[in-house]
Symmetry: C3
Subunit: 355 residues, 3 copies
Amino acid sequence: MIVTGFARDQWYVAAYGHEVGRRQLGRTILGEPILLYRTEDGRAVAMADRCVHRRFPLSEAPSHLVGDQVVCGYHGFTYGPDGVCVAVPAQRRVPRTARLRSYPVVEQDSFVWVWIGDRDPGDTTPPRAPWLAAPGYTTVCGMEPLNARYGLLVDNLLDLSHETYLHGGYIGTPEVAETPITTEVHEEAGVVYVSRHMDDAACPPFYAESTGIRGRITRWQDIEYHPPCLYLLHSRVAPVGSPPPAADGADRHAFHVEVVYAITPSTEGSTYDFWAVARDFALDDERVSDFLRESNRAVVLQDVAALNTLEKVLAGEGEHYQELSVNIDTGGLAARRILARMAGESAARPRSAAP
Amino acid sequence: MIVTGFARDQWYVAAYGHEVGRRQLGRTILGEPILLYRTEDGRAVAMADRCVHRRFPLSEAPSHLVGDQVVCGYHGFTYGPDGVCVAVPAQRRVPRTARLRSYPVVEQDSFVWVWIGDRDPGDTTPPRAPWLAAPGYTTVCGMEPLNARYGLLVDNLLDLSHETYLHGGYIGTPEVAETPITTEVHEEAGVVYVSRHMDDAACPPFYAESTGIRGRITRWQDIEYHPPCLYLLHSRVAPVGSPPPAADGADRHAFHVEVVYAITPSTEGSTYDFWAVARDFALDDERVSDFLRESNRAVVLQDVAALNTLEKVLAGEGEHYQELSVNIDTGGLAARRILARMAGESAARPRSAAP
Amino acid sequence: MIVTGFARDQWYVAAYGHEVGRRQLGRTILGEPILLYRTEDGRAVAMADRCVHRRFPLSEAPSHLVGDQVVCGYHGFTYGPDGVCVAVPAQRRVPRTARLRSYPVVEQDSFVWVWIGDRDPGDTTPPRAPWLAAPGYTTVCGMEPLNARYGLLVDNLLDLSHETYLHGGYIGTPEVAETPITTEVHEEAGVVYVSRHMDDAACPPFYAESTGIRGRITRWQDIEYHPPCLYLLHSRVAPVGSPPPAADGADRHAFHVEVVYAITPSTEGSTYDFWAVARDFALDDERVSDFLRESNRAVVLQDVAALNTLEKVLAGEGEHYQELSVNIDTGGLAARRILARMAGESAARPRSAAP
């Protein structure tokens, strides 16, 4: 059964850095409405997206920013970037309790991460996806809203055999579904690894067009899933017969693509599907960037259509529908187990009242 | 109160034969999602429309047929026409439990009937509507989806006095609502008969245009309802003063129209409204066919609009809204009683788990 | 917390008089579906909008009026203006219990008021808004459906500080939000008074355009709320320095606008927002009428947008969301208290079964 509870006390991607600016952005994460904006000196801040007075959303017009403060569009309650209310209409005194919950924020690897939970994040930090903002890589990215529980996207990404059927013509070839996987779980670190190495495979258009390879390829898919939010797919393609990576990691005969997904639960039945594709070749070729952006977006939209369909199916079937798992699901099942453990730990902790 | 439970262990019309072909057709019947298609040798088959793996609908793209097998569009699980899974990605062994529930199918009188239930149909067969595929008759037909519980359509069809008000200008005239009915119920066979014989009535456009009669008519409406699914209206019209049918049934002075409805519950609040009109005159006149098709479709759409409205009304009123029944409702009340008995018998039987 | 129960045994505005005519009008008030029409001699009548037979709405086509009677569009059940059924298809006898609940109606001040409740209204009468149909005033009016609980509109109208933020550019200026209010509650009569007198304020376009005043103004907002339905805003604007009203009430140096709202709960989450603007100047100036109609409608639609947003927010937050009230909310809180008392009294009375 798919996990439906949420893992709290965790970092989640709320937005790309470029989405957060001098206009308010509203995102709902783990069911919590969150307001994001950037102060005049460039700092991203996050706070509850509901005015304390009558709960009008601070992200919606006519609410607006004035300097570093946000002014509610209904009655003018005004808040600083720390969520503290600094002005109330028709009176001098601002009630002491007039403050919005404020969320810890870390900007890293092009993402704006927020900490959702009741505990302090302490010195924990979000996991890394350094390629997205590193020299030597060029990245295209986007976000598609998904009308499906996040567990369906976790399942989807942990088992790439679906590329053959759902994404034929883009990234799927018969070899993906035919080749067995190996799965490893680092229980302590809470990381799931799934690998599929194809020695001699057809080159799908996604790689043929972007790399220029015309023949068959050696294709490696090495997945690292850091529950709950970050998914990394290290993809290596090289013409069949190219030498393997050197002992020191050098691998100049191959093309490398780092496909990154951030899986952020919005509500019980909806999810933000952040996707990014970083490559170490054709760095300045806009045509390749355009092609990979359009191709990956098309692939993501195929997933979105399929998962939206599945969500409707499951929502109609109640809690106890039947599934049948096979070898390809080993990684997905491990991910579900870790997510269920995380969600269980959240549920067991007393939850502070939201201000 | 209208019956809302379903009568299981019964035959239901799932589709017209011409709707089932070499592309998958998905229909939800009594809440069960069913996949229909035709094998290469022309046999109609029906099975559960959910892949055993992750419940993706086998009727939806990119799921597709390959020969007599259906391939799931998500991960490629493949099933034979008996619902047995024959292929799974990345492994040789197919789990023994990987099989879809398969439904008994009978093709008869242009309909594809499926048996919904847990018991075996044994040697029961669906009731007949032979005119729809018989020499000496020409038939037009269609299906309109109804966003209303099936009981509202049963009520509607068992009491034709509504023709005067809802279908004036097509098939209603004042005499229909004015003329009392006679009702008979064959409890053992579970059939409801409702008759209304009008000796001297205006001829509505439906019959005037199709038969060419210009004056007043003798108009007989003889209903046979075979719960739960099949409704037959034997309609006889003849110019006033024409001789009645002979003792041997011969009736060459009258025009006969066999109006057939199949009432198939889809979900609790939706129904497939199959309708067909078979006539024994103007057999090769396309203009008459077109006219009757358009007229009957218009009439059905008037019913659909009224019943969709009623469904919204009733859904908003909870379980205990009040009704007031009068003489014209005798047939409808008998039908409700039989359907309630059938539904009660279904509920009393232990239900096998859906595979 | 906002009141969500309904105050029954009260008068509510169902429609403007000009909306009720020789075609049926259906309105749902306090969850009760009501049919309104005018008899041939011009009397407005109100009765349950559900045929006693199968509950088809009498306000919806093909239901129709014949003389003073309404004929159900499904089977032709026919009712007089008192709700008593006078004809049934295919039989002479009309069942004694075939009668629709009939609602007391009062037409007054351009409104059609109906009494919703189980007790008799006795000699109670709806509260007055005489300017809407009095010589010496010109009125523009409209009604906007609101997809929000009525309490949100009560809150909105009792605290006009929101004009500054939500209606800037129409009727809001900084002084509205800055100026404290005075609130009085006549507990016995059940009336809430909220006043805000601005001695020296900017003149918003709503008044500048309609009165021709170019400089700053003295602006008085005197609210009278007669729960549950009638809200009066006595608005007085005059150039700064104009003399105050005379002891006898004469006030010829000022412009007076009587803004009237009728707040009629439709369902738990929807409301009819009737609005009217009566003025004692430029009585025959169509340009001023057009301007005030368009301006006030724009203002109401800004409220509708904000309150529809709030309804979605609150509907998603369950029963126990938090609010923080300040001085400007004194009137609104008093209104909520009176409405809660009224709703509690309704709930405590035994409710007669709806016919």
